[in-house]
């Protein structure tokens, strides 16, 4: 059984790479969606609402299948996309929808005095968002966003269903050869568990750091 550990551990970088790439992309998209939701650009606002509603209203697995197996039948240029890319894209879109709502709530929660102070010194809207509002919203949103990152790491296991050999795929292959199903999947579970615990610790440290300015 111990022989399984290094084999499956070898796929940890792939898991982290998929989750990290999706996290970065989802954050960028989510901030854009959230800012749009705050300023409510006509027409665009309806599209954003539709996007968020769809990606929150359907299961991630269904979305992944729809995009990886379904969409290329309609849009042939998508056939070139491999499973890893499709998984990253699916995770990005799905979690961006959730994160946008978190970030929007955090933006709206920034005290009115902060918006007015930024305006009064002559900042443009872009400067106000970048320099004053988003940094303060980030502090409020950060713990929740880390939770989504944790969900994303676990979500990468769904890439297995798109034919990607990640930790689950590797465990499946190892188990098929040795019949050590329980052991193989236990190793996978424990590795996920350790990664998530590590992140939870990092989350606590991050919270303390972000609250530094607010300590009396």
């Amino acid at each position: 059984m111990l022989g399984l550990v290094p084999v499956i551990l070898g796929y940890v970088p792939l898991t982290l790479a998929m989750a990290s790439a999706a996290m970065v992309l989802a954050l960028v998209l989510a901030v854009a969606l959230a800012v749009e939701r705050v300023f409510r650009v006509p027409i665009l606002d309806q599209l954003v609402l539709l996007f968020i509603s769809f990606f929150r209203g359907t299961p991630l697995l269904v979305q992944l299948f729809l995009f990886y197996y379904g969409l290329p039948q309609v849009l042939s240029f998508l056939t070139a996309i491999d499973g890893v890319t499709a998984a990253i894209m699916g995770l990005t879109l799905h979690f961006a929808a959730y994160m946008a709502e978190t970030i929007r709530a955090a933006i709206i929660g920034v005290d009115r005095s902060q918006w007015e102070a930024a305006q009064s010194i002559g900042m443009t809207q872009g400067q106000m968002m970048r320099r004053v509002i988003l940094p303060q919203a980030a502090r409020v949103a950060a713990p929740t966003l880390v939770n989504y990152f944790i969900d994303m790491i676990k979500g990468t296991s769904l890439a297995f269903t798109l034919g990607v050999t990640e930790m689950m795929g590797a465990a499946q292959k190892e188990a098929a050869g040795s019949f050590l199903y329980f052991e193989a999947f236990l190793v996978v579970a424990v590795i996920y568990w350790i990664m998530v615990e590590g992140l939870s610790q990092a989350q606590k440290a991050l919270e303390i750091r972000l609250n530094k300015a607010y300590a009396r």
Binding site: D111, S113, Q114, E116, A117, A118, Q119, S120, I121, G122, M123, T124, Q127, R131, V132, P135, Q136, R139, K212, A213, Y214, A215, R216
Partner: protein, 244 residues
Amino acid sequence: MIRIEGLTKRFGGTAVLNAIDLEIAKGERVVVIGPSGTGKSTLLRCINFLDRPDAGRITVGDISVDATRASRADILALRRATAFVFQNYGLFAHRTAQENIMEALITVQKRPRAEAEAQARRILKEIGLADKADSYPASLSGGQQQRVGIGRAMAIGAQLMLFDEPTSALDPEWVGEVLDLMRSVAAQGQTMLIVTHEMRFAREIADRVIFMEGGRIVEQGPPAQIFDAPQDPRLQRFLARVSA
């Protein structure tokens, strides 16, 4: 010179500012007094476009903005020529005292960081908070926070500084130090428009006192005239009430 013509603001049908006309000379200190809800804050906020006026023209130096067709660029230009000191300080909570003072210099005026830092340190010394440069607002007393708020306004080099009840949110023990700082700002020749309930301070610092009621300027004149020989019965009643 600052000129306000026909400044009008309505909130849901009721006129809070009724075609206000006001001229302020360079270096002049004008204090606005009046009962609660008469539009004193709204007047200041409209000059800074924190509230958008419904009509009127605001001229600050070379910048002249017609409220009915003010573009984004007009509004920014006007805001950059004026500075606002808020009742509840409005310091950027995620920035230190020094960063608060530097923010407009770096982000808005695009000055080199070294220059902005040097100026922020000069101002910190002036407001008596050189030792608090790296403190965040939450760790400062109310009086210290408001001094940083005034320091932030000083950094802008505005042609007009607007004060909306700068001491009203303060514990009594901190009022004196903020008024002292305002005196020293005044001594530098800064043009100031101040809303305050501190009548003694108003009498002392003002070149001219304006009494507002119901969105109108009811009476104005030098402090001695307004406080010692008020003409309008509304002003007489108001003064009797605040001195009681």
